[in-house]
Amino acid sequence: MRSCRCCPVFFETHGETWNLKKILPVAFASLVGLFSLVQYFVPHPSLAGIFRELNRWGVFIFAGALVMGTISLVRHHLQKVASKDKNWPYSLVTLVSLFATAGIGLVTGMERGTLFNDIFVNVLMPTEATMFSLLAFFIASASFRAFRARNLEATVLLLTAVIVMLGRVPIGRLLWSGMPGVANWLLDYANTAAKRAIMIGVGLGIAATAIKVLFGKERSYMGDDG
């Protein structure tokens, strides 16, 4: 370790240069993280009070992130419109829709019977529903083109998918009365066993990453590869 008097470099260790810009966020994240962990096991009212305040801040920060996202969206599309980029009219539609909907919502409110609600029910709902329903067409096309019994594993997957797909809808029982039972067995046992294994693995991974974040070893949340 070597200390350095000239600002902003604070010290160097293991080939890494640390300054206040790097130390403060890491220290703050570690402190808040450790506190959140400790208060989970210590039900003292004073800790609960601090934890409550931290969570209230969390809500404000998330709300702030929404504002940042909106600003970023507007800037991105304004630039596209200003420079007449490819497909710039779509950006214009986005901006007009954004400001018109938000403006109408602020003026009329959002309750049933307002213009904002009419826009929501008659424009946004059908549009999003249409986008989502397109999945059915793509899945059907993909199932025809790609879902092939090329080997044993693919065959097992294919048969399982067919049984669950038919067993989960009323027509499955009409085709074979045992179909729903087999489908439910697959969901209750095969699916659950596999999911549990994945969840335990993910849980251990989360715990390991959390420990690295708490001790400042994992700093990718700061845009730092180290």
């Binding site: 989970y40 609960a48 934890f51 409550r52 969570n55 209230r56 969390g58 809500v59 920060i61 998330f62 709300a63 992130a65 929404l66 959002m110 309750e111 049933r112 609600n117 929501f120 029910v121 946004l124 709902m125 059908p126 999003e128 529903a129 986008m131 989502f132 329903s133 059915a136 067409f137 899945i139 059907a140 096309s141 199932s143 025809f144 083109r145 790609a146 879902f147 092939r148 019994a149 090329r150 294919l158 067919v162 797909m165 038919l166 989960r168 809808v169 009323p170 027509i171 499955g172 029982r173 009409l174 729903p180 439910n184 969901l187 209750d188 699916n191 659950t192 999911k195 549990r196 969840m199």
Partner: protein, 285 residues
């Protein structure tokens, strides 16, 4: 034989799209009324709501889906609201997805009107909170910390329904209907940390993710997609809480036929694959 394989291999995908469209639309025009039998996870969800009747404890319903998921999850939410209102169970609705607030507002008011329920006394909508994690932790001690006002901006204490409601302990049941990751947070924080009793509603594709929680008892019931909604509606009909078919049961014929069409396409695709392989094998041989 080889001509059939070639024809299948080169089938224009617009024919597939047409087949899917017909299989979805026709059952709405000519219903087949296929029988729907409730499965165990849905019965468990129904029983959990039924157990609230007469206790006076409200049901906390989290509306965590947006218009894209409304076709699947809207019927789930409306079936639950119908059940609660039919049994005079107070309902408190919250929401963690921005566009879900509009859905909640519309479904809540429409269903409440059918049962002559009064806002603030029989039901309330607390609005949208941007941070599910922080809000769920705050609600473990005081709902007002996460939702200081309802969606109209009035403080919660001015409503009769919220008089003695402060934390999960005061809710008889928590229901999260979600097309996203929120159920994981409900399990981790509302259930594990604060001991809330939880029922989940999820899209059919996500429902399988929650079976481990169902088996472990961390979630008391599971309503998976439109099929789950149809099963729930069947239970409501059987218990005289619903006068006619709901959206879930109406959609079941379409879903059945669409699934059958997809299975048929898989069979045809594999037929073309094996015919093609057999033909290539013959040439090599």
């Amino acid at each position: 034989m080889s001509t059939l394989a070639a024809k299948l291999e080169n089938l224009d995908r617009r024919w597939i799209f047409l087949l899917v469209a017909v299989s979805v639309i026709v059952p709405f025009l000519y219903p087949m009324n296929l029988p729907v039998r409730p499965t165990k996870p849905v019965k468990q969800a129904f029983d959990a709501v039924e157990a609230l009747a007469g206790t006076g404890k409200p049901l906390l319903l989290s509306y965590d889906f947006e218009p894209g998921g409304d076709a699947e999850l809207g019927p789930v939410a409306r079936a639950l609201l119908t059940h609660a209102f039919a049994r005079d169970i107070p309902v408190v609705v919250i929401n963690f997805m921005p566009a879900g607030a509009g859905l909640a507002e519309n479904d809540l008011k429409r269903t409440a009107a059918k049962f002559n329920k009064v806002y603030g006394k029989d039901y309330i909508f607390l609005g949208y909170n941007p941070s599910v994690l922080n809000a769920l932790l705050l609600m473990g001690r005081e709902v007002r910390d996460a939702f200081p006002t309802d969606s109209t901006g009035r403080v919660l204490d001015s409503y009769e329904i919220m008089k003695d409601v402060h934390s999960y302990d005061d809710f008889g049941l928590v229901v999260d209907i979600s097309s996203s990751i929120q159920p994981e947070y409900f399990i981790r924080y509302a259930v594990t940390r604060f001991g809330a009793k939880l029922v989940l509603g999820a899209t059919a594709v996500m429902a399988s993710d929650f079976y481990p929680y169902l088996q472990a008892g961390q979630c008391k019931g599971l309503i998976g997609g439109m099929k789950g909604a149809a099963e729930y509606e069947r239970l409501l009909l059987d218990n005289n809480m619903m006068a006619r078919l709901g959206d879930g049961m109406r959609g079941m014929d379409s879903q059945s036929l669409a699934h059958a069409v997809i299975v048929l396409l898989i069979v045809l695709g594999n037929l073309s694959f094996f015919l093609g392989r057999w033909k290539r094998g013959g040439h090599h041989g």
